[in-house]
């Protein structure tokens, strides 16, 4: 039987694989890919070995270390492949950053970041494989799912 690709291959750029289903749109926003002038292909709810996943392919777009860290907040098991001439020349695992600045909104309604002109800042850590975020200002700790990102 002829095998077809669900998502078309790219010549040069980056492929982010193993994104938890539903998180690709968040990562598109995070990387501001809507404004990216080159081709971006996304796959949502693709079936993979570990259940459903999302995938993003970006033509001529490469990620900084900081961006790779930030992706790990939303997709801790993502793999980031750098592509050249249709071949994977580098494979990275997304690594959780120690902190994130001005990406997430503190869910605590009494936190000073809700009312003052401040950039939010969270320290990140894993406890029993669960990602937790601690607000630098109100010092409250939240599960990753409880903290929403700023909408760009």
């Amino acid at each position: 039987m002829e095998k077809t690709l669900s998502v078309t291959a790219i010549n040069n750029g980056t492929v982010i694989d193993h994104i938890p289903a539903g998180q690709a749109i968040t990562i598109l926003r995070l990387l501001k890919l809507v404004d990216h002038k080159n081709q971006v292909t996304i796959g949502l709810n693709l079936s993979g070995n570990r259940g459903f996943k999302d995938l993003i392919k970006m033509e001529n777009r490469y990620l900084t270390d900081r961006e790779m860290h930030e992706i790990a907040i939303f997709a801790p098991n993502a793999t980031i492949n750098t592509i050249k001439d249709f071949k994977v020349i580098k494979k990275h695992k997304a690594l959780l950053p120690e902190s994130v600045i001005d990406i997430m909104r503190c869910p605590n309604p009494r936190c000073v970041t809700q009312n003052e002109p401040l950039k939010t800042c969270f320290d990140l850590y894993k406890h029993n494989e669960i990602i937790k975020l601690r607000c630098k200002y109100c010092e409250k700790t939240f599960l990753r799912e409880e903290v929403k990102e700023y909408v760009a």
Partner: protein, 307 residues
């Protein structure tokens, strides 16, 4: 000797090392024994209380005056430009120009951290919402040290509102440096938050959870009682649970001789007045110690040299 507290902020108890806490407690002890009358002459403390306070505000202001310094400030947000809509950011920028140190109480959690980023003068957090109140924690530690002769290896029960009480959160975190055995006594809806329990577990501390003071009263060195807020319960429910978290003189018959009762105050009816007349009551000494600990903080933050 040079003093590395000079010009520093005090925002959160977690930022202080064990040796730094010891220095503050030792300084408080020296000041209690021998007052330092003119140490801060010519210095000004801005006492900025955007929320009501009795003990904290008055003891900070008294501490500054006893050290020879001056005080300016306000005791509620209604008399400031916050009422006209001024941001805290702008208020702090302005106040910074008038004072040598700013003591800040504010209902927003993280307000003191933000103020420290905005101001080039030292900020002392005097309570930011339900978050931190580090000078209360230091005076609690000082009081425990004073009445027990040590901080290590003590059995401490925290009783009452453990969910919303910033005092018990900060003190329980600080005690993790001293191999404390914890007993948490509260109604289920006001139990110690998970993040505090996680923190204590990560530090290898032992804690147990109880629903009645009588279960643990004969095992502890310190009984740290906090106020149950009536408004968190319906009336029938409050009447039912109230007795389990209140202390009477009668209950003290079988306790350890060294056991002391602490309370951050104000109390309502969680400690019977008859307890005041027993040797176990230590909450008024605790409130008095607030003065010496706050004098110590101001002395360390505003003086280049240790004394």
């Amino acid at each position: 000797m040079s003093n590395h507290f000079y010009d520093r902020d005090l925002i959160s108890i977690s930022e202080l090392s064990q040796s730094e806490i010891s220095l503050i407690l030792d300084t408080a002890k020296k000041i209690k024994q021998s007052p330092k009358k003119n140490l801060l002459q010519g210095k000004i403390l801005a006492s900025c209380f955007f929320e009501a306070s009795t003990r904290t505000r008055l003891s900070f202001e008294a501490a500054m005056l006893k050290l020879g310094g001056g005080v300016c400030g306000f005791s509620d947000a209604g008399s400031t430009s916050a009422k006209k809509g001024e941001s805290l950011y702008d208020s702090i920028k302005v106040i910074t120009a008038y004072a040598d140190v700013i003591v800040l109480r504010h209902p927003q959690e993280g307000a003191a951290r933000m103020a420290a980023e905005v101001s080039n003068k030292p900020i002392i957090n005097a309570g930011d919402g339900s978050n931190q109140h580090p000078s209360q924690t230091l005076l609690d530690l000082y009081t425990i040290y004073e009445c027990q002769g040590r901080l290590d290896d003590l059995h401490i029960a925290f009783v009452g509102d453990l969910k919303y009480g910033r005092t018990v959160h900060s003190l329980s975190q600080a005690c993790a440096a001293y191999n404390t055995k914890y007993y948490f006594v509260s109604p289920d809806i006001l139990k110690m938050p998970e993040y505090i329990c996680d923190y204590l577990s990560s530090k290898g501390m032992n804690y147990s959870i109880h629903s009645n003071i009588n279960e643990i009263i004969d095992q502890v060195d310190i009984l740290y009682i906090t106020r149950l807020q009536k408004e968190r319960f319906d009336e029938a429910e409050f009447k039912q649970i109230q007795g389990k978290y209140s202390l009477t003189a009668e209950m003290l018959r079988e306790v350890k001789p060294n056991m002391r009762v602490m309370h951050p105050l104000p109390r309502v009816d969680e400690i019977e007045v008859a307890v005041d007349r027993t040797k176990h009551a230590y909450y008024f000494e605790q409130a008095e110690n607030g003065l010496y600990v706050r004098e110590a903080l101001l002395a360390l933050i505003l003086n280049k040299e240790l004394f």
